[in-house]
Amino acid sequence: MQQLLNGLFTGSIYALFAIGFTLVFGVLDRLNLAHPAVFAVSAFVGIELVEVAGLSIWYTLPIVFVVGGLLGIIIERVAFRPLKNRPDAHFAGLISSIALAGMFIALLQWRYGPNTRRFPADSFPSTTFTVFGAQVTLLQVAILVISVALMVALTLLVAKSRLGRGMRAIAENPTAARVLGINVDRVTMTTFAISSALGAVAGALFAMNVNSAQLGMGTAIELKGLAVIIVGGMGSLPGALVGGLLLGLAEVFAVANIGSSWRDMVAFGLLFLILLVRPQGLFGARKVREV
């Protein structure tokens, strides 16, 4: 049971991270590999806000959300918009976002140095609960609640709001969306901003969960995020949620039964399996973009 809950908590962070990835891919058909860098940046920024500005960890989250949004706008403007009409836009976008990620991480190193940083000692509330015989901290519950809440909010936004309709229109047929009078550039920018904002919150939550932030944390989670969105289905929001939780749980059980050094293999095992058996993922639809 302890395992189950731990898996759920980690899984919800994976899911929150992955949902940003899949939002951009689903709407704009682009893989944004600067997303993991935003994850790392927000972890460090979160720690700094607590350490330096003395904020409680809960107040850092909205700030990190905004910072993530701004980074998302930068990523869209610098790495993706200039490539809009190029025939190799997919590939080039991959590389340009990798480049931007490198720049972000280098800047992190400049400001914070290469070492692992941690939250100050008294940052976390010490309340614990006992649920079905397992120990659960307030922090963990909060992580789960916040992650799920944000993902639900995103799903509602996409399903019910004007912006969400615009996103879905662009996802299905960008030319038709333009004809309808949708400002495709503006909606694209907003999509990136939301995606990065969510990734940023995921980063801060992850840092809180393990009480550390390192320069390499983005890379470490990047492949897992990719595995989650492929397993869940590229472009599917519920897929990212389910996929993330699934991965979290699978990892915990693998560690318990096979050994901790094989933990990261779980993601790839799932990934390969899905790619061979059902490439569109659990919830994905076979989408054919009319060119």
């Binding site: 004007r162 309709r165 615009g166 879905r168 229109a169 299905e172 047929n173 030319t175 038709a176 333009r178 004809v179 309808l180 009078g181 949708i182 400002n183 495709v184």
Partner: protein, 239 residues
């Protein structure tokens, strides 16, 4: 239809040149539409009709020439701004968003205007859409999709509506219905610019017509005259 007494046509296109890379699809085309009239551009495939419409509606930026709408120069204005200014296109192939519901498609038509009354009016005009409003638009038949596409354009309460091949792929009886709707729209005061492969039908509905071939205007004149003109048949059939 009697001639409009407005001195300036609502739409004026002068010496339009549209090219895609090194290919000149439209070579110096000029035409105009009087307010409240229905004009039509006919011609074979590849003659440049769609390129002209796309340039007018702001999807494509012309290489040269000017486009004036209600006295304003809109040559460089992009599509999303034009919808807000009362100029809407119903694109070729309808471009319905099949994964969204009918109601959502109509709501998207009102992206700029947010006019729920307009949506109600569209439902009154097309009851079949009202019946199925929460179904995905992809489930509609071709004719119903065309109605949806037109309805979607009407939600924005346009003063000028551009229709790109509305009869494409539709059975003749449905085409009659579509044209009936088009005439109703015109009767309500909206100017209509119609592109069609089905030249006879289009010319019968229009006030004024332009025949395109190879990116240029080969003939023009009052629609009734063109209908009776043998040269048009020849130019169109290329014989």
């Amino acid at each position: 239809m009697t001639e409009s007494h407005a001195t300036e046509p609502i739409l004026k296109v002068e010496n339009l040149v549209v090219s895609y890379g090194r290919v000149e699809a439209v070579r110096g085309v000029s035409f105009q539409a009087a307010s409240g009239s229905l004009i039509t551009l006919v011609g074979a495939n590849g003659a440049g009709k769609s390129s002209i419409i796309n340039a007018v509606s702001g999807i494509v930026r012309p290489k040269a020439g000017t486009i004036t709408f209600e006295g304003r120069d809109i040559t460089k204005t992009s599509a999303h701004a034009l919808v807000g200014e009362g100029l809407v296109q119903v694109p070729e192939g309808r471009q319905i968003l099949g994964t969204l519901t009918i109601h959502e498609n109509l709501q998207l038509g009102g992206w700029h205007t947010n006019d729920t009354a307009a949506i109600r009016e569209v439902y009154e005009r097309f009851p079949v859409l009202a019946e199925r409003r929460d179904l995905p638009a992809g489930a509609l038949s071709g004719g119903e999709q065309q109605m949806l596409a037109i309805g979607r354009a009407l939600v924005a309460r346009p003063r000028l509506i551009l229709l790109d091949e509305p009869s494409m792929g539709l059975a003749p009886k449905i085409v009659d219905e579509v044209f009936r709707v088009i005439e109703e729209i015109r009767a309500s005061g909206t100017t209509v610019v119609l592109i069609e492969q089905n030249a006879r039908r289009a010319l019968r509905a229009a006030d004024h017509g332009y025949v395109l071939a190879s990116g240029e205007i080969a003939h023009e004149g009052p629609a009734a005259d063109l209908l009776a003109d043998e040269r048009v048949v020849q130019a169109y059939l290329g014989v």
